[in-house]
Amino acid sequence: MKRNPKDLDAAHGKMTRRALFLGGLQLAFAGGLAARMRYLQVDQADEFRLLAEENRINIRLLPPARGQIFDRNGLIVAQNSPSYRITVVPEDAGDVEAVIAKLSSLVPLDPEDLERARTEMRRSPPFLPITLADQIGWEDISKVAVNAPALPGVTPEVGLTRVYPQLDDFAHVVGYVGPVSDYDLSKMEDPEPVLMIPRFQIGKVGFEARREDVLRGKAGAKRVEVNATGRVMRELDRREGISGADMQLTIDAELQNYVQARLGRESAAAVVIDCEDGDIRAICSSPSFDPNLFVRGISVADYRMLTEDKYRPLSNKTVQGTYPPGSTFKMITALAALENGVIGPEETVWCPGYLKVAGRRFHCWKRAGHGHVDLNTSLKRSCDVYYYDVAIKTGIDKISEMANMFGLGIKHELPMSAVAQGITPTKEWKASSYGKDWLIGDTANSSIGQGYMLASPLQLAVMTARIATGRSVTPRLLKSLDGVEQPSGAGEPLAVSGNSLRMVRRGMHSVSNDRRGTAYRSRIIGDGIQMAGKTGTSQVRNITAAERAAGVIRNEDLPWERRDHALFVCFAPYDKPKYAVAVVVEHGGGGSKAAAPVARDVLLQALYNGTPPLEAYPNADRSRIKAQQERLERERVKRPLGSRSSRA
């Protein structure tokens, strides 16, 4: 196309003007950008710098190490050991299921855990780690570490977890810890932030729960620099937490282990208490369970097995279970009668086999009757009629008062779960609980520890210790806290005359040392270690007049849950009481047969601080006892007592 040079010049001039105009616009725009930059970077710099710090710095809590628990000899009962777990960050893993499949070919993964992890994954943002397996072995963790490149997003992590090396021996005493649950949090008003750490363990039951305050410790914190996905880049600083306080129990783990083994598979409870200072040397409820199961998170099948067992392994029968004390209560009735001058120690009561009270016959366990019975005989042969008689003369309120003095119907403050108060009925109590008047028959029933009367094995042991010493011995479970010795439970002398106590103790001595005593077969041979005790057989059913007429059905012929409870309380040595023991065997039948031998064995074990010599047993029993000792020794060795080597 032909063009006019003049036009071209004009066009070039126009272009130059417009180019300059555009250039000006661009400069103005650049100026605007600079102004904006100034606004953001100079005027608002402080605000943005603050926001940047918030972005970057994250405060992470450092879980404190939980206080450890030892027995009185420094044997470890609850400790913290490193636990390895495998976590996965779904975001980093990509195809999570493929990673899980690869992982499960390396280490065994529990399907229940996996199901839990999958639910968690659906709920939480993809950058948060999810635990796939907890408490796995070092070998498995190293397998994961070696194969790390093939497992994107998977991290082996180390933390502390609670371990109970004594297994079921201390399950009911120490209890167990478990991960904080939503339910736990809902119960707390202002939960500590440390509780929000995933899988942080707190005491759930028993000592662990009751002394959570000192066992937990204080959380530390670290400031870390994180990137946008929350991944920790480096640590800026850290303040270590304060570990929980270490605890020493009064319990002798060796004795505890023996007692637990001796109780075997019976549904039973045994308490050994030091008469001098109230230290609980052993406190066992049988059957027991492995608390480590709960730390890991118990499987549904295991849990069902524990809850459906009719022997109730989860219940702590020593402090939680209350039983009619039966004849073991007779010492209290006797003391109340003696102290109130109702009867002298030498005075007798005629026992024809029953006592008519308010038109109703109250039977003695021995239908033929005991004839003339004084205090000593009444204890030795456990005559019921004697007690019906003196109790009615004394009155229930005075008996209950005496019972309270000896620790029955009193809640002993022990750091264990669900410590029961028991019941020592009074007229007022019946009126307020049942709205009914106290009947004279109720007094008769109460006098032999039946009726409304209820006591826990712990209370019975305390009662026996108080009878043995005449002091208000108070049970003590915690020996020292963080190295500080706790106050002794020796107690003050009781307001009971020494003479009455002596008479009752003599009666108890006859029970196990007189040829006609109910526990003669369970006597201890040897000077200076003789045992004084009292049998008890408490009914859990009413024997109707018709049944009594037809002949009382023998325990062996009844279904287990309707048989009598067998009880035995004792102390030794008789002249210088050291240990008091209470044994309750649920539905065990007669106290002399089912409970006394156990209590005797336990007492001997405690007195000899180990296996007693056979000479301590009656001649006729020695071969049988030897076999029993060998069997128990085998059973105890079978228990993987890792503790034996880990003395602190």
Partner: protein, 383 residues
């Protein structure tokens, strides 16, 4: 339209051309690219991999390409512009058919040694074609409606193809650059007023339609606009990029946290920290001073180009230089506005600094044309 118009004899020949390169411009480009290397090194946590090394290689390749393009006489580039335009259209169609989907949009063609983004080529080809068009068109016809409609169609054709990828940023850039060239060529200002008025009208109509039964945009599109207008509404969602970018920028302060000390960008709070948002790293580590320095260097490049365009008495050269300058300006202006929260996040890289192959290669090629126009500028009046 003959070679004689350029008084070819007065232009330098052979190796002497090198002496006539616009060395100032070259130096500025190298400076900007070096800033890019520095920032990529920092963003990678003090490492040459994974970004600095390939970037340096590409820059060397681009620089070589710029020299080769500069050596070739400007009239060759004018004559080839129609072919370039058609070629780029063909590439755009090809990317539509065989392209690789990246970041939710179809933008790349894999051509063996690198991934080519045809829309980058299109920007320059369009500017070349328009410059050649106005070089060919007698100036007095410039503002006639028919002769205005033709370039508008030439602009809209590739714009539509790019928009379909979808790449809103590039299509806006194409329209703006094309419009810029038309403005410089002397199209009557009334056309521009009309187009801008129509645009404003359209936008306000769209907003008017919100919530009515003739709503013109989808709800999520409106929400995206809301987020742009007020990012704090949704700080972890769509507003995240803008908020984090402003935090990084603002925390830089007057003189910055120092090289390699930027916490925000290096800790991955910033999205696309090595590409579209690299300016935030610079601003965080070197502060206001660093940011303004880069802005000044960019503006110097623009001023060099304007001076060069005015000095070139030949119409094609002037227009093509200005067109390239506008494209370059739009690149960094849009990118910086976006990073500073002044424009929506549209995915425009910071020219010569952001990590990325085709944009840098194409820009250096374009500057080759600027250099060629500079070298081959008429030394005397062509009369």
């Amino acid at each position: 339209m003959s070679y004689l118009e350029y008084h070819a004899k007065s232009t330098p020949t052979g190796l002497r051309k090198i002496l006539h390169l616009n060395w100032g411009l070259t130096l500025l480009l190298i400076t900007v690219a070096s800033v890019g290397f520095l920032m990529l090194y920092s963003v990678a946590g003090g490492s040459f991999s994974p970004w600095v090394e390939p970037q340096v290689k590409r820059f060397a390749l681009g620089l070589a390409a710029m020299f080769v393009v500069a050596m070739i006489p400007i009239w060759f580039w004018r004559n080839i512009s129609v072919v370039a335009y058609l070629g780029s259209l063909a590439l755009l169609v090809a990317v539509e058919l065989f392209g690789t989907v990246g970041m939710g949009a179809q933008r790349w063609i894999d051509i063996g040694f690198m991934r080519l983004q045809p829309s980058e080529v299109t920007k320059i080809a369009l500017v070349m074609l328009l410059a050649a068009y106005y070089d060919w068109l007698p100036p007095e016809k410039t503002s006639r409606p028919l002769w205005v409609l033709l370039p508008v169609a030439l602009i809209l054709l590739p714009t539509a193809l790019v928009l379909k990828q979808p790449d809103l940023g590039t299509s806006i850039l194409l329209m703006a650059a094309g419009g810029g060239v038309m403005f410089l060529a002397g199209v009557h200002w009334a056309y521009f007023v009309a187009v801008i008025a129509a645009g404003v009208g359209l936008v306000s109509t769209v907003f008017q339609s919100r919530g009515t039964d003739w709503q013109l945009l989808k709800d999520y599109q409106f929400r995206r606009i809301d987020t742009f207008l007020d990012p704090s509404q949704d700080p972890l969602g769509a507003g995240y990029h803008i908020t984090q970018s402003k935090i990084a920028l603002g925390s830089g302060g007057w003189s910055g946290r120092g090289f390699m000390q930027g916490t925000q960008s290096r800790l991955n709070f910033l999205p696309e920290k090595h590409t579209d948002f690299i300016f935030t790293t610079l601003a965080e580590e070197f502060g206001f001073i660093g940011g303004v320095t880069l802005l000044v260097i960019y503006m110097l490049i623009i001023l060099f180009c304007i001076a060069s365009a005015i000095a070139a008495k030949d119409r094609f050269s002037s227009l093509v230089i200005m067109g390239i300058a506008i494209t370059f300006f739009l690149f960094f202006a849009v990118n910086m506005s976006m990073v500073m929260g002044l424009a929506p996040v549209v995915g425009v890289p910071l020219p010569m600094v952001s990590y990325g192959g085709s944009a840098m290669l194409v820009l250096l090629g374009a500057f080759g044309i600027v250099q060629s126009a500079h070298i081959h500028r008429p030394r005397q009046s062509p009369r």
